[in-house]
């Protein structure tokens, strides 16, 4: 294990930005490209938003925990809430499925998270909570770039 951290915060939308920044900072040493970083932050945002909106139904009290490990060029991250849980995970992960159509959710969160990560697994139990684990590989850029030259 190269490095490891845990962050817990109140499930309020202001902290979605906090989670994104913390994770950016945690992976900065892997020197990601701007696109890799954007993908990674999107995963974090989608998972944290789900915990706030679906897990805790915006009660403003629940706690979200992010555990992250770096192993070489690979980041594994688990985002946990102790909220309502998901009764049918398979259905929840279908593209366009949302349990809150009235909130104009796109139902694309899981699809986006899957497409931007190299591995994703979901644990959930109704009334216990949800834990989503991602792995993302950051390939080293074949950097032939020297400042001021080509």
């Amino acid at each position: 294990m190269d490095n490891e951290m845990t962050l817990s915060f109140i499930a309020i939308s202001e902290n979605e930005g906090l989670a994104r920044m913390v994770m950016t900072s945690f992976i900065a040493s892997l020197d990601p490209t701007i696109d890799e970083l954007a993908e990674f932050k999107t995963i974090v945002s989608e998972a944290v938003t789900n915990a706030i909106i679906h897990g805790y139904e915006e009660d403003g009290e629940g706690i979200i925990t992010i555990r992250a490990k770096r192993n070489g060029q690979s980041i594994t991250m688990t985002i946990t809430d102790e909220g309502r849980g998901i009764p049918n995970v398979e259905q929840a992960m279908e593209p366009l499925y949302t349990s809150k159509p009235e909130r104009e959710r796109s139902g694309m969160g899981f699809t986006i998270m899957e497409s931007f990560s190299d591995h994703l697994s979901v644990w959930s139990e109704p009334q216990k909570g949800t834990a989503i684990t991602f792995t993302k590989e950051f390939l080293p850029v074949q950097s032939n770039f020297v400042l001021g030259e080509r």
Binding site: K41, V141, S143, L147
Partner: protein
């Protein structure tokens, strides 16, 4: 105006949020320029060097560049 800005800057009274906005604009520009010249995406280190800012400043400002342009194209188009 330049005088006032310099005074504010030296005085440390400038809001961080303001300098972040300025930097995020420069990041966008430098990224486009890098892609044009090198035909690939810059990494954070390459951008920090190009813009002569610290990694901390870059990480902070890069959050203003949310939503990869490719996101919508990849998923919805």
């Amino acid at each position: 105006i330049g005088e006032i800005q310099r005074f504010l800057r030296d005085d440390g009274m400038v809001k961080v949020s303001r300098s972040i906005r300025e930097l995020s604009f420069k990041i966008r520009h430098a990224t486009d320029e890098f892609i044009r010249v090198h035909e690939r995406q810059p990494t954070l280190t390459e951008l920090a060097k190009t813009l002569e800012v610290t990694m901390d400043e870059l990480v902070l400002a890069s959050d203003a560049l949310r939503d990869p342009a490719s996101l919508h194209e990849q998923l919805f188009e």
